[in-house]
Symmetry: C2
């Protein structure tokens, strides 16, 4: 019976080629123009799950993009692991900042990835990390080492708020029943510093529209006498943070849990170089909430960021116009206990309240999700910790992430099981950015670590 | 010898058709994609000036778009009038707000224009108003009633700052020598309230760029820890006005001349209804500098308006990104005595000084121009006043405009002559906006009034 590492060595070329094919399909869920490609990707995932050894695989239709569900039940008495991932990707723009086309994967060696990295939109988030689980299953089934039951649920709307997923999960509790949920859609601290994400931030995403005059106006004839929607929007956005970069929305912090000094001290032990951080981003200074470190600001503290703003003339040259309307897309990252619907309502109420009489304001809630925390004494976390220890040769560090996977808290609510976030990407992989990539070493290390999780989880469950 | 009004009645259909043809050419000087059309427009203007009776017409090349120059010298001993206008137009966007294509002119009747108005980009600003002068010349030459010499200088870069014009004027003082400059590129108070613009605001137009991290970032992984260029830009823009909507740039008001109580009282006599103003713009309230009326805010007071802003994801759906860069186009309207180069320098110094360390800021000056005032006791103003009195049956009201025609102060400096701004457009003509139009009554009234100015100016000059 072939062992894990030699199997990976033998098949790694194929593992890379199969992922490359998947990355060529532009499954951009945010843009209706790519609908065919998103569906094509779902079918490709279905095929690969079959080949990897699932007994049944189906494409489950939803009001949005379909969810691919597959499973292999070897013994109902054994534990069941549910793998979640997504096959959709973020829009690639700004396109001109990509060094190679986002949907024409290329492998390049870098200082961080001397073994090479695959450059393509979705390479890490999440096609690459999702596909590690498919290949790990292939290993376990083809070598008869699958120790427990497994289910896959791969969706196509994660980058646009997983709107169909909640209904699907609520209607399929039986089908999705499991003992633990396994997700690789996060990162680890460094290649030599394995880490497991134990906390996620929630999200509230809104779009705002400020309307002034009923038409664009000549800035000379009307300038100074009429509210300029762009100036007003800028003023309203500016007012959402105070001089300490605290968010000024009344009630925003009411449910924010302050971490204990011990917890903050533990966080501070994770290796971090502020100089390296600034150098990597080419910034002279970091910027954020007074009284918190960089690692605290982007993980245990809530935020309010404008993700996009537009209004007036943005073409070449100059146009002396006062726009009729100005717009912004604004997202707030939330911490555990903050309810995203409540925060969205607080934002809406506040934003409307600070608009001057001279303009009209619309707030359109986009989507959101709750924050989440995994206890490190849970069976799932312990199994993951052992798996990393075996494949990396060292214990992983529990880490809070600033990102959001809204559905994690949904899973706990509907399926009553904990989620383990085994991420193998790096911060430098540029997910959601031009030149997203995923290290081949990380990809193969993930494929190596996952079967070890299955093994340890099954054993620990037996001994519970 | 045919009289003015009957000539206009006889030829008005042709006058309208000729203008319509000119309006069909999209001479958008701000967008290089329309270069051919801009040049085609210059040639069309040249042809029409010939037909109207100019002895010589030439297309004068510049580093930018050409200037059409034509003249008819009947007697060097007689006064010379220099007509200035521009054949370029503003970009038409937002296109979706036009009820008919901007470059497919249509005539529609409205409450303000029961005789019909021509809808097209440039109908009023400035093709329509410029062409009134061409047709007025046609009348005077074809009926042998041209009382003095005339020169035409029609440029193609007015909407982008007239960059080539200053050099052209400086190098052609002899050729352009004149006793008065006549421009129709402004408006009048109402069809039954003729007015002559005696003051213009200056302009300083800049573009700003705020750069944060060297690439777009995931707003979850970095949000809260890194300066978001869009939030910072909003904050910087907001800080440019204080709670009284005074502009906060140090030194900005140093040279602003406060009008006397008498002057302000005289201004207040111009007919104006705040309710009608708000209704026309569909706003619940006006907005501007504390202590000044609406008519003062948009004419005798300087302003700072964002004409365009953009940054981050502005496509469909949601993208959780922190942009690397954010941009804005900002223009300041200036009053007489404020020097636009000095104000541009003050803006640049201040804007750079308020940027936090966490971002880098670039300020790119676009173009600008000085403010201007015409004394109402000048020969030119007196002649214009008599012309209006004869064609409208009532004395025109001298009026300060909030708009800018930067080249007016340039003309005075280089050519040592005063400019008379005989505008026949209305505020409701939506210049620089979707559905720009020009009333046929106004168009014909302009053609009727201009020859009367020639007549009175020649007489007054003789009696000087």
């Amino acid at each position: 019976m072939q062992d894990l590492t030699s199997y990976i060595q033998e098949h790694k070329e194929r593992f890379i080629n199969e992922l490359t094919e998947l990355l060529k399909i532009p499954s951009i869920s945010a843009d209706p123009a790519y609908k065919k490609d998103v569906i094509k990707t779902a079918e490709a995932v279905k095929e690969q799950l079959k080949k990897a050894g699932c007994d049944t695989v189906e494409i489950c239709e939803t009001l949005g993009y379909p969810i691919v569900f597959g499973q292999k039940i070897i013994d109902p008495a054994l534990p069941t692991i549910l793998v979640y991932g997504h096959y959709d990707v973020q829009p690639p723009d700004p396109l001109d900042l990509w060094n190679s086309p986002p949907f024409e994967p290329v492998i390049k060696k870098t200082d961080t990835h001397p073994e090479g990295a695959i450059y393509a939109r979705g390479a890490c988030d999440d096609k690459g990390q999702m596909y590690m689980h498919v290949k790990a299953l292939e290993y376990m089934t083809s070598t008869n080492q699958l120790p427990c039951n497994v289910k896959f649920m791969i969706e196509g709307e994660e980058e646009v708020g997983s709107e169909s997923l909640s209904g699907f999960v609520a209607q399929n509790r039986e089908k999705l029943a499991n003992d633990v949920i396994l997700i690789s859609d996060t990162g680890m601290i460094a290649k030599d510093v394995p880490s497991i994400t134990t906390g996620l931030r929630g999200l509230s995403y809104v779009e705002v529209e400020v309307t002034g005059p009923n038409r664009d106006l000549h800035s000379g004839l009307y300038g100074g006498a009429v509210a300029n929607p762009v100036n007003i929007l800028a003023k309203m956005i500016a007012s959402l943070h105070d001089e300490n970069n605290h968010i000024t929305i009344p009630g925003f912090y009411d449910k924010v849990e302050e971490l204990s000094d011990q917890e903050r001290a533990a966080m501070a032990e994770a290796p971090f170089s502020l100089e390296a951080y600034k150098k990597a981003l080419a910034i002279d200074a970091v910027y954020g909430e007074t009284g918190y470190t960089t690692n605290e600001r982007n993980s245990i503290r809530p935020t309010l960021d404008v993700n996009g703003i537009w209004g007036g003339y943005i073409g070449e040259g100059a146009k002396t116009v006062i726009a009729s309307k100005a717009f912004a897309k604004i997202s707030m990252r939330l911490v555990p206990n903050q309810d995203w619907r409540e925060i969205t309502a607080l934002f809406q109420k506040h934003f409307e309240s600070i608009a001057p009489d001279a303009v009209k304001v619309k707030v359109k809630p986009h989507h959101g999700g709750q924050g989440y925390v995994t206890p490190i004494d849970s069976t799932g976390y312990q199994a993951a910790s052992k798996a990393y220890e075996e494949s990396f040769g060292k214990k992983p560090i529990p880490q809070r992430s600033g990102g959001s996977i809204p559905i994690v808290s949904l899973f706990e609510k509907e399926l009553k099981s904990k989620t383990i976030l085994m991420g193998f990407g790096l911060d430098s992989d540029a997910i959601h950015s031009p030149n997203e990539h995923f290290g081949i070493w990380n990809y193969l290390k993930g494929i190596e670590t996952i079967p070890l999780f299955y093994k340890h989880f099954t054993v620990l469950k037996k001994n519970e």
